[in-house]
Subunit: 296 residues, 2 copies
């Protein structure tokens, strides 16, 4: 299949590599250098997003934010200027669900189709082709693109119509942020009360408090390993999508708003590039105490 791929950053580069390795013809466009490894393997470098759209059946976007998607799709030499009926735009970036519905409507008005297909799993998931992919759009478009998703990820779900993929991603990021806070407050309390946080973590893993976050990030908090992983500045961006969305939709998310303030506190303390589990460091500042094992 002729696949366009726009955005070759930390996530996009390994994803495009998997598609190329699977034998697809790739048409690439990126703000920075494409990289000789792609060209040597037969991928075509395009001068603009519109040229990518003109050359491809499926046009995949993997760019940072809502405004980037808007510029790539509708800006000068953007995707719409090369689009024709029957093509499918697949936005795998994590952006606003509300803007997504508008973007999709405009693309469909041109006779093309649109899928929002944000991912979770981060850089490791992109490299290992083990991403979770949450898709919004028509059943027909989903079925056409599904073989490509299966090259990139493992847990692939069509949530519903356009925007619903981005909505699911936002819901995911809300849960992950608040569960990090849950585990952080619990282990910090336990440590300050004199219990061994690693023993508490293990004891709770079997019961109602168990979660992937307690398993993975609980261990990070105890081990004091805050290398990313998933950077706080990126999770803060995702919570902005939740809070902007909440404002636009008329929903109150008090816990999400408070978790965002803890990320802000981390970023104020040079923590932009800390792993998001380091949210606990903001709680530790407030308590003037870090999670530590009790003296033997």
């Amino acid at each position: 299949m002729k696949i366009g791929f726009i955005g070759l950053g930390t996530m996009g580069r390994p994803m495009a590599g998997h598609l190329l390795a699977a034998g697809h013809q790739l048409f690439l466009y990126a703000r920075k250098q494409i990289g000789p490894e792609f060209i040597e393997a037969g991928a075509m470098s395009c001068a603009s997003a519109s040229e990518v759209a003109q050359s491809s059946d499926v046009i995949i976007l993997m760019v940072p934010d809502t405004s980037d998607v808007e510029a790539v799709l509708f800006g000068q030499a953007g995707v719409v200027h090369g689009l024709s009926a029957g093509k499918i735009v697949v936005d795998m970036s994590s952006i606003s669900p509300i803007a997504t519905k508008e973007f999709a409507r405009k693309i469909r008005d041109l006779g093309a189709d649109y899928l929002d297909a944000p991912v979770s799993g981060g850089e490791v998931g992109a490299k290992n082709a083990s991403l979770t992919i949450m898709v919004g759009g028509s059943k027909e478009a989903f079925d056409s693109v599904k073989p490509l998703f299966e090259i990139l990820g493992k847990n692939i779900t069509r949530i519903g119509g356009n925007g619903d993929g981005q909505t699911a991603k936002v819901a995911n990021q809300i849960i992950v942020a608040l569960t990090i806070e849950a585990v952080g407050e619990a282990l910090l309390f336990a440590s300050k009360a004199g219990a061994d946080p690693s023993v508490v973590r293990k004891a709770l893993m079997g019961g109602f408090a168990s979660s992937r976050i307690l398993e993975v990030h609980g261990e990070r908090m105890v081990q004091r390993n805050f290398d990313p992983g998933f950077r706080i500045e990126l999770h803060a961006k995702d919570l902005n999508l939740a809070l902007d969305g909440a404002k636009a939709l008329g929903v109150s998310l008090p816990g999400t708003a408070a978790a965002q303030q803890l990320f802000n506190a981390c970023m104020a303390n040079d923590g932009k590039a800390w792993d998001h589990s380091a949210m606990v460091k903001a709680l530790e500042l407030l308590a003037a105490h870090s999670i530590t094992a009790p003296a033997a």
Copy 2:
């Protein structure tokens, strides 16, 4: 073994029943009626907590709150008046970790030993003998009482010294409350954005947002099933232990404090006896929207 059991409420009654069925000699004391089923099966009814202590090797308490434990142990005709060296007091109530350390010190000063051994798993866990038991106290006392714990539960951990069992229970309740809020905010956002919350829940179950709470209480929120389960008024009591403990220890728990306010909002709306997953109803009030599937 001669076992004293004080407190035959919702939790204590089935627990004492399991110990009796396992062939132990039981000495019972409760504020209300013991119940003929115990007497017919050979258990002895005692006139006071001190009489229970005098007759038994291990004295188990299962009463509502810190003040109840204090009264049963140290009040008029309390446990200490029948206690002698070598006996073990086992408090399975969920109470203050800080008060527990003081109670344990006083009991050990009398030559007896003390275990704090709060449980999670609720009424169902008590009836099915599948409780999670978090224990604080000496290794020797834990080893002596462990065969009894194994009659009552499945996931049994010695966390550390006295108080550490109660600390682990508080940590458990912090995580459970905040994870309920996490799932509630995420599914409410998804529903208001027009996605199907049951599909979102399923899609997220495989990834980093997965938890027992998303699995069990996420389903409750979608199905609108808020029959207890574990009542909000009991979870609010447990968060009080967390917040009182935080104040005494010098820890700040902003998320726990906010979650408690959501429980308060539920209780202000006749929700004392709702299942704790109904915390989402307070969020729904704020959003003037309940979690619902989109119109087909």
